[in-house]
């Protein structure tokens, strides 16, 4: 989802997650209807299977990386040590097992970002929403993380909705790009369809 600031990208993500309710419309993920103003249906945030990666990650500052990820694990039968073990395995998938015992304030931007993604995936979501997840990291980390996010998406095989105002991120990650402007959809198409046309280039 591509657009300049103020175009409604973040608001769209927040309506999908159920953080804010839209006035009218319908939100569904696969077969599951999350919101439908026609029938009055409005699932709570907790009941929507949505993984959210926030712009500032929102990692819990009083929990270590593994505790953050373990907090999100849905399986309630899994307790204590085995829960943390599963969390470490998820961190290992992002090659950051070494930060397991660290608190967010002692982690780099890239490590925090990977932990946030691992946590979002731990809750067994049907869709992952990423709100400009790379806006706070340096260019080098960004070029490392882009392919990692892409391969994470391919590995779990669920849709990722990635919000950005950066053309190269949209080109590298998107299979389908939605251009938002002034709160409404202006264009949809593949990255090449969108970005090879001169009208959207600044």
């Amino acid at each position: 989802m591509f657009g300049q600031s103020g175009s409604g990208k973040t608001t769209t993500l927040r309506t999908i997650a159920g953080i804010v309710a839209p006035d009218t419309g319908r939100i569904s993920v696969g077969e599951d209807v999350y919101f439908d103003s026609a029938t009055g249906k409005n699932l709570s945030i907790q009941k929507r299977r949505v993984g959210f990666v926030f712009q500032d990650y929102a990692l819990f500052p009083h929990m270590t990386a593994e505790q953050n990820v373990a907090y999100g694990i849905k399986d309630n039968g899994l307790r204590g040590a085995s829960r943390l073990e599963r969390a470490r395995a998820m961190l290992a998938l992002f090659k950051i097992e070494h930060v397991s015992k660290r608190y967010p304030q002692h982690m780099s931007g890239g490590e925090q970002q990977r932990t946030a993604l691992a946590r979002a995936l731990a809750s067994d979501p049907a869709v992952v929403l990423l709100d400009e997840p790379l806006s706070a990291v340096d260019a080098e980390t960004r070029s490392q993380l882009l392919p990692e996010i892409k391969s994470a998406q391919e590995r779990v095989g669920i849709p990722f909705i990635y919000v950005t105002h950066n053309t190269s991120e949209a080109t590298h990650l998107g299979t389908k790009v939605v251009v938002l402007h002034g709160g409404s959809v202006k264009q949809t198409g593949s990255p090449s369809e969108i970005f090879n046309r001169s009208e959207n280039e600044r």
Partner: protein, 221 residues
């Protein structure tokens, strides 16, 4: 001689602090998160004992709980018992007078936790209750702890309202602040001195402790 008021103060403050901590935290949460009519009016009502002269608060407590009081009268007619001039009255006076500090501190502490963390917890499927105990409360713990220490100190020093509702009965309702008053009046300088030093020590320790915990709070938010 000095042990009677010390023991009584300890008893009164312990019970009062337990009540203040739970009730004050609940009210702080209600005021921080609630969105209802008359919310600020309710908040102001609980702040009153902080700004009223303690004797005025004490007077209202008598009007409410005394033998002929609005609630106390009913209790007296039913049971023949009145809370006035009992050690329980000292607990009530200390609780009511110190509660505002706990409500203020815990409300501010809860409001200082970024809602982003709570929303993140909801998206991970956690209920409001679970989120409060595992996210909000731990992140607000320093402010809440500071509130407990402050109100404990206030409860320990309670004089005016206690005098009004519980009286000054040695061995029964005479807490340390009242014992100091009594000692000075009767010219027992040694006793007054000793009690004053103990109270000063506890208060200085409390303020030092409060500063220490609130200082650490900056790291998180």
């Amino acid at each position: 001689m000095i042990w009677e008021p010390l023991k009584l103060s300890l008893l009164v403050v312990t019970i009062a602090t337990v009540i203040i901590a739970t009730l004050g935290l609940a009210l702080g949460l209600l005021l921080a998160k609630g969105r209802f009519h008359g919310q600020e009016l309710l908040a102001s009502l609980f702040m009153l004992p902080l700004v009223l002269p303690p004797t005025v608060s004490g007077y209202y407590l008598i009007v409410l709980l005394g033998r002929h009081g609005l609630i106390g009268g009913v209790v007296y007619n039913l049971t023949g018992w009145t809370v006035a001039f009992t050690w329980q009255a000292a607990v009530i006076a200390a609780t009511v007078l110190a509660l505002p500090l706990m409500v203020l501190s815990s409300r501010a502490a809860i409001e200082s936790v970024s809602p982003q963390y709570e929303i993140a917890s909801y998206t991970l499927g956690k209920s409001r209750v679970v989120t409060f105990f595992l996210i909000t409360l731990p992140l607000a713990r320093r402010g809440i702890l500071a509130g407990i220490v402050l109100s404990l100190t206030r409860a320990l020093g309670e004089f005016g309202a206690t005098f009004m509702l519980a009286g000054n009965i040695p061995g029964k309702t005479q807490t340390m602040p009242l014992a100091i008053y009594e000692a000075v009046i009767s010219g027992d300088d040694k006793r007054a001195q000793l009690l004053a030093i103990i109270l000063t020590g506890v208060s200085v320790a409390a303020v030092y402790f409060t500063n220490k915990i609130s200082k650490g709070a900056i790291r998180y938010y």
